[in-house]
């Protein structure tokens, strides 16, 4: 590679990487995140305890501190389109240890809700919705499990919708109220086109 000019890879690197506070940030974003998350996200002082406590962080690119920063600065696009948003396991370690008594987990949950409103959801999450709708379980029972349960002297099916499928319509009613299944089906089918 010569000087890198006319090279698309280098062109990409030479792009303006300033943060333009007036054009990039949406001041309503932090308000919306705090309304949904019910936690004072704007009080974050960026100590990094959340990332330091996070079991996902050492194994992924997920940095919860950065999502807190994006919330404070109103970087709505950057937050909602970052696939890392979906890497949180919601273990709440960060919320337990945050010295500012903020619940970063709830900030992530709020952002996920906002992303879902814009159809930005990974496919596996949508498939989980379909599974819950159809079986009442995010991870339904399977034959391997059934065999293992019987071997341990348990009934093949646990005391859930697997054993009492008559409760599935109730679960479906809740999901229908929020149009969860409907939206999941739509987004998945659009992705297939």
């Amino acid at each position: 590679m010569a000087k890198g000019y006319n090279d698309p890879a280098m062109e990409e690197k030479f792009q303006d990487r300033y943060f333009h506070a007036t054009t990039e940030s949406n001041p309503e974003f932090i308000k919306e995140v705090e309304r949904l998350g019910r936690t004072p996200a704007h009080m974050c002082f960026q100590c990094g305890t959340c990332t330091g406590s996070c079991p996902s962080a050492p194994r992924s690119s997920y940095r919860i501190r950065k999502f807190m920063r994006r919330a404070v600065l109103g970087l709505e696009r950057e937050a909602l389109t970052d696939p890392d948003l979906w890497l949180c396991t919601t273990c709440y370690s960060c919320s337990d240890r945050c010295p500012r008594d903020i619940a970063p987990t709830d900030v992530i949950m709020a952002m996920r809700n906002l992303a879902f409103k814009e159809d930005i959801v990974p496919r596996n999450f949508l498939k989980t919705i379909q599974l819950i709708y159809n079986t009442g379980h995010g991870v339904p029972n399977n034959d391997v499990n059934r065999a293992a349960r019987v071997k341990l002297g348990l009934e093949a099916e646990p005391e859930t919708t697997h054993k009492y499928p008559e409760f599935i319509p109730g679960i479906q009613k809740i999901l229908d109220h929020y149009h969860m299944k409907e939206n999941a089906d739509r987004i998945l089918s659009e992705g297939e086109q």
């Binding site: 002082f45 960026q46 100590c47 406590s53 962080a57 010295p99």
Partner: protein, 671 residues
């Protein structure tokens, strides 16, 4: 009060305070409105009423219009009431004929965005003030004599400095310390930042000075038992805890010629009881008869009677000096002082409450004060820093800053403990200096090196090779085999999580007020802030004083401070405490309650209401009546509001004056 009543003639003066008031409030219309109020003879306004021409307006108006009361609508009584009182007095009126309407702090500032509402509210405030001014009476301050002595409670570096200053100013000073020796926290430190002076070396000359200053009466191993009286006349009872050992002076007083403790230590050598030394945080042993360290002042041994088995071996070892008395009991002594300085210091926050850092779970996690003792040449290891688990020399040490400070979770402390950044820098320097190749890692959120030469010290430590990682430590875990520690955090500048394996972790734990200090604080009538630190009268304008007249604060008991700040405040407190003593008398604002004895039923219900213990019942003309100790009364009005018989008369806040204010507000000026 016996003067003839004449028709009230009030002058009202409205201040612009630059744009502070005039920027929001229409001063012109407020002034015009004031002129229409009942009894108001003259109304005027001026750019700055507190300036010399502004005050001249008041003085001239009193003379020109034969006024009986003055109202100034301006900032706050806290700021300029004394100024305008003086002007009122210079105009020939009693200074208590002055009333202030706060139209800045309580009006233009808080209603900045509502000029119309603010203007209407200013009119209300002036109407109310004028109504009260019409009923004001002449009052005369009383003065009480001041005892030519002072007391300093707590003999750390702050208390020592305050006591020395008072004593050098010629004031008899009682220095009271609950521990067997003076010196406080500073004597536990190895070096001081940023000069790296040896802490004991610079402190011991002062400790020795307080020990032999002719004007200082040193009471170690002594606590304040009770406090009576008021500014100028405090009667303070001290509990001299049973020490079990007599000083040479005490022995001489008892007629034991040439006897008393000379600090030889023969007793400790003989003593069979071994206990952990609290001065070394339990890392070194001491006997049941002990001194904390070789430089103690006074050099007198102390018996820990909780541990002593009374075997008598020490008495035998002491021999002819006859210093030891195993049957000694606590004694009490009451002293009279004019003013008091509290310098009761601090304790470390129980950092084990933050379980994620593993203090008291893992051997090699220690606190900074323990580090000070381990690195100190006179400490339990002779200055060799070792890992508590195996005695090895650590080669990698992590320092955890803000451990329990700046923590809003309810477990820690919300404030910054102020000196941890600096001492952790010092610790980093010390390990690099003493252990070649030892690497310090400092986990920080912000380095707050705010003092003189402090930032330069930070630069120096960074240059020496300390590694700074910007991120708060999330978790410390132990490798069970090696007893090494894994420190987990995010390097927030790198944006990556950090797992750092170190030999030792030092927690810069938060500081908090001394344990069990509240009873002492309450005895002196000093309030505390939300965090438990003693509350100063005003954080900027009166940082050494308290709301109790004659009681002053020095050092960390008022809030976290490093040594220079503590000493500076101690000198300030000593100066403030010496003023009433040198003046010889204190003038009391005449706002005290008065008992109308013919109405008083002697029920005594007001006595328990009084927050300043100013009231008691006395026998007068064959009946019990309430009596006010005027020097103690703050004029808060709690008793006056509570009295079921209406027998309490609050000077300057009388019932007619307050009713007139309420009427003026509700009736809009119509009487």
């Amino acid at each position: 009060m016996a003067e003839e009543k004449k028709q009230p003639r009030i002058g009202v003066f409205v201040c612009h305070c630059g744009t502070n008031i005039a920027g929001t409030i229409d001063v012109e219309s407020v002034k015009d409105y004031a002129a229409t109020l009942p009894n108001v003879i003259v109304a005027d306004d001026y750019q700055y009423m507190c300036s010399t021409p502004g005050q001249a307006k008041i003085i001239d108006a009193i003379k020109d219009h034969d006024l009986t009361g003055i109202v100034v609508a301006a900032c706050t009584p806290r700021l300029h009431e004394p100024t305008f009182r003086t002007a009122t007095k210079e105009g020939g009126l009693n200074p208590f004929r002055f009333e202030m309407a706060n139209i800045r702090d309580q009006n233009s500032w808080v209603h900045m965005h509502d000029p119309e509402g603010a203007t209407a509210k200013a009119k209300d405030a002036i109407r109310i003030a004028a109504a009260k001014a019409s009923l004001l009476e002449d009052l005369y301050p009383k003065s009480v004599p001041v005892e030519h002595a002072a007391m300093v409670v707590g003999a750390g570096v702050g208390g020592i400095q305050a006591a020395l200053d008072l004593a050098n100013a010629g004031i008899k000073t009682y220095l009271v310390e609950k521990n067997p020796t003076v010196g406080g926290r500073m004597s536990q430190l190895d070096k001081t930042f940023p000069t790296l002076d040896c802490s004991q070396c610079i402190l011991t000359p002062k400790m020795v000075d307080v020990g032999r200053h002719p004007n200082i009466e040193l009471h170690t191993y002594t606590e304040v038992e009770s406090v009576d009286g008021y500014i100028g006349n405090f009667d303070i009872t001290l509990r001299k805890k049973a020490r079990g050992v007599m000083s040479q002076d005490e022995a001489t007083a008892k007629g034991i010629v040439g006897g008393g403790c000379n600090g030889c230590g023969d007793c400790a050598a003989a003593c069979p009881v071994i206990k952990p030394n609290p001065f070394e945080f339990g890392m070194a042993p001491r006997k049941a008869i002990y001194i904390f360290h070789p430089q103690v002042v006074p050099l007198v041994y102390t018996i820990d009677f909780d541990a002593c088995v009374k075997c008598g071996l020490c008495v035998e070892a002491c021999g002819e000096k006859k210093a030891i008395d195993l049957e000694m009991t606590d004694t009490f002594e009451t002293v009279k002082v004019g003013t008091v300085i509290l310098s009761t210091g601090y304790d470390m926050f129980e950092i084990e409450k933050k379980r994620e850092w593993g203090y008291k779970q893992f051997d090699n996690v220690i606190t900074s004060l323990e580090f000070e003792r381990l690195i100190c040449a006179s400490g339990p290891t002779g200055g060799h820093l070792i890992r508590p688990s195996d005695g090895e020399t650590p080669m990698k040490v992590a320092f955890v800053l803000c451990a329990g400070s700046r923590d809003n979770t309810g477990v820690g402390k919300p404030y910054c403990s102020r000196f941890c950044c600096m001492y952790s820098l010092k610790h980093a320097h010390q390990i690099m200096e003493k252990i070649p190749g030892c690497q310090p890692y400092i986990f920080y959120m912000d380095i707050r090196s705010f003092g003189k030469m402090y930032e330069e010290f930070y630069y120096r430590i960074q240059n020496e090779g300390a590694k700074f990682i910007r991120g708060r430590v999330a978790n410390v875990l132990e490798d069970a085999k090696t007893k090494n520690l894994h420190v987990y955090a995010e390097d927030t500048l790198l944006g990556r999580p950090v797992d750092l394996e170190v030999d030792m972790v030092v927690l810069a734990a938060a500081v908090q007020p001394t344990e069990n200090i509240d009873p002492v604080r309450k005895m002196f009538g000093v309030s505390c802030s939300q965090d438990g630190w003693m509350l100063e009268a005003h954080p900027k304008l009166n940082p050494c004083g308290t709301t109790t007249a004659g009681v002053f604060l020095a050092g960390v008991c008022q809030g976290p401070k490093d040594i220079p700040d503590t000493v500076a405040q101690a000198e300030g407190a000593a100066s403030a405490a010496s003023i009433p003593i040198h003046t010889g008398k204190v003038e009391l604002e005449p706002y005290f309650a008065q008992c109308l004895e013919e109405k008083c039923a002697g029920c005594g219900m007001c006595i328990s209401q009084c927050p300043y213990s100013a009231l008691d019942l006395i026998e007068k003309d064959g009946k019990q009546v309430m009596h006010v100790t005027e020097a103690k009364c703050k004029g808060c009005g709690t008793c006056g509001g509570f009295c079921p018989g209406g027998a309490i008369y609050m000077q300057h806040f009388t019932t007619p004056q307050i009713v007139a204010q309420i009427d003026a507000f509700l009736l809009g000026g119509e009487q």
